[in-house]
Symmetry: C2
Subunit: 259 residues, 2 copies
Amino acid sequence: MADVCGLECLQGVKGVILDMCGVLYDSGEGGGTAIPGSVEALKRLTDSGLPLRFCTNETQNTRECFVCKLRVMGFNIRVEHVFSPAPAARAIMTERGLRPHLLVHPDLVAEFSGMDCNSPNCVVIGDAADQFSYKNLNQAFQVLIGLEQPVLLSLGQGRYYKETDGLKLDVGVFMKALEYACDVKAEVVGKPSTEFFRTVLRDMHLEPHQVMLKHTHPYLYTQVVMVGDDLVNDVGGAQRCGMKGLQVRTGKYRYVISD
Amino acid sequence: MADVCGLECLQGVKGVILDMCGVLYDSGEGGGTAIPGSVEALKRLTDSGLPLRFCTNETQNTRECFVCKLRVMGFNIRVEHVFSPAPAARAIMTERGLRPHLLVHPDLVAEFSGMDCNSPNCVVIGDAADQFSYKNLNQAFQVLIGLEQPVLLSLGQGRYYKETDGLKLDVGVFMKALEYACDVKAEVVGKPSTEFFRTVLRDMHLEPHQVMLKHTHPYLYTQVVMVGDDLVNDVGGAQRCGMKGLQVRTGKYRYVISD
């Protein structure tokens, strides 16, 4: 992240979207730790005046708690600039009249407060970590297999992430488990969903790129850059949306498989 | 099962292989309960003198304990007639010099006693039930992702099974989870593996079918019938092996998805 913000590739760019875990900090015990140089890099980027948003698949906290945690690490971030899957999933469920059975981290439950969770007609899974017990997975499975039209909303599809004490299984692994158990296809909410990135771009009032004429041929100029440590969810998702994707060399970068 | 043993389709058959869970009994608290009529049906089949073997993907017990449990329910079964995935996996690992990290039910561990489990170079998963915790899944994942050539042996690939208090997630679900996490393909040991069925046929000294001439055309006569409640693992596996597959209407029969 410190490197990226000094690169020439940001010349001419009109807005930046940043992944958070693995770019700004490594998660782990006590909330995790800032990656060296990232606090200063974010300050430089903020001071540049470029429109800046944060796009995370973090689902172990409400956005408010998550931003508090990052402020403690020294990052100056506004809640309304952070886009995460839980509020997006809530909007989808409200629109479609879905009542969720939640298999999510206890600290995320508040994002769904006030929703009708009786007689659930869909299952929502997030990064529930230790709550991914056999008992809880069975409960989610039993709800899903009992539905005439099973709906499984997955808050991200990551394979694993890096904590300070090693790699940990992410929500995508349990999404695949339930998909196989019930022979359903999950709807992924969050990165790399194009709809998710488009919501962020609309909030920035920017297009992913700009069409210009160069020597009488149309040419695409990058307007928005997405910076992340994940080749599929960050870089690939951004590219499919028309943005430029930049991969940092922190977080899960060194591992062979990206998710 | 009681119905099958009275059917004409067994006329001319020279041997029978029976699935156990969902055919002879339903698993559950206290070991489960015999399916009405099955004790008598098995006795009739045994008395007929037809060669009989049992083929199960049961991995919550050693074969010895499993047979004891069934004897208590009233089934007269010999241990050496029961074929299950754990001894087959042990033979594969011995042949290939593999040292397992075990994610299996505590009562199955004895099947692997005496094996070298230091510096594991493969992961074996069985139906670990409550042992499928986030912590244990992470441990298996960390072993697998750390291997240069990851080997994942899965004792079966079932989606779910029926216990007396409802459907429960089976080992295949967690196999899919680890496959996705590490981008590997598991090797399934047990049904519906053709090699697994062939081992049983060799023990019976029978071919799956016999080639005869009927009106000068070669014609296949069924020699061995496989009886099970699972359309993929029992019926499909048997058919791919050249046997006839019969599905009973007990166990998981009524559910739409078979595994």
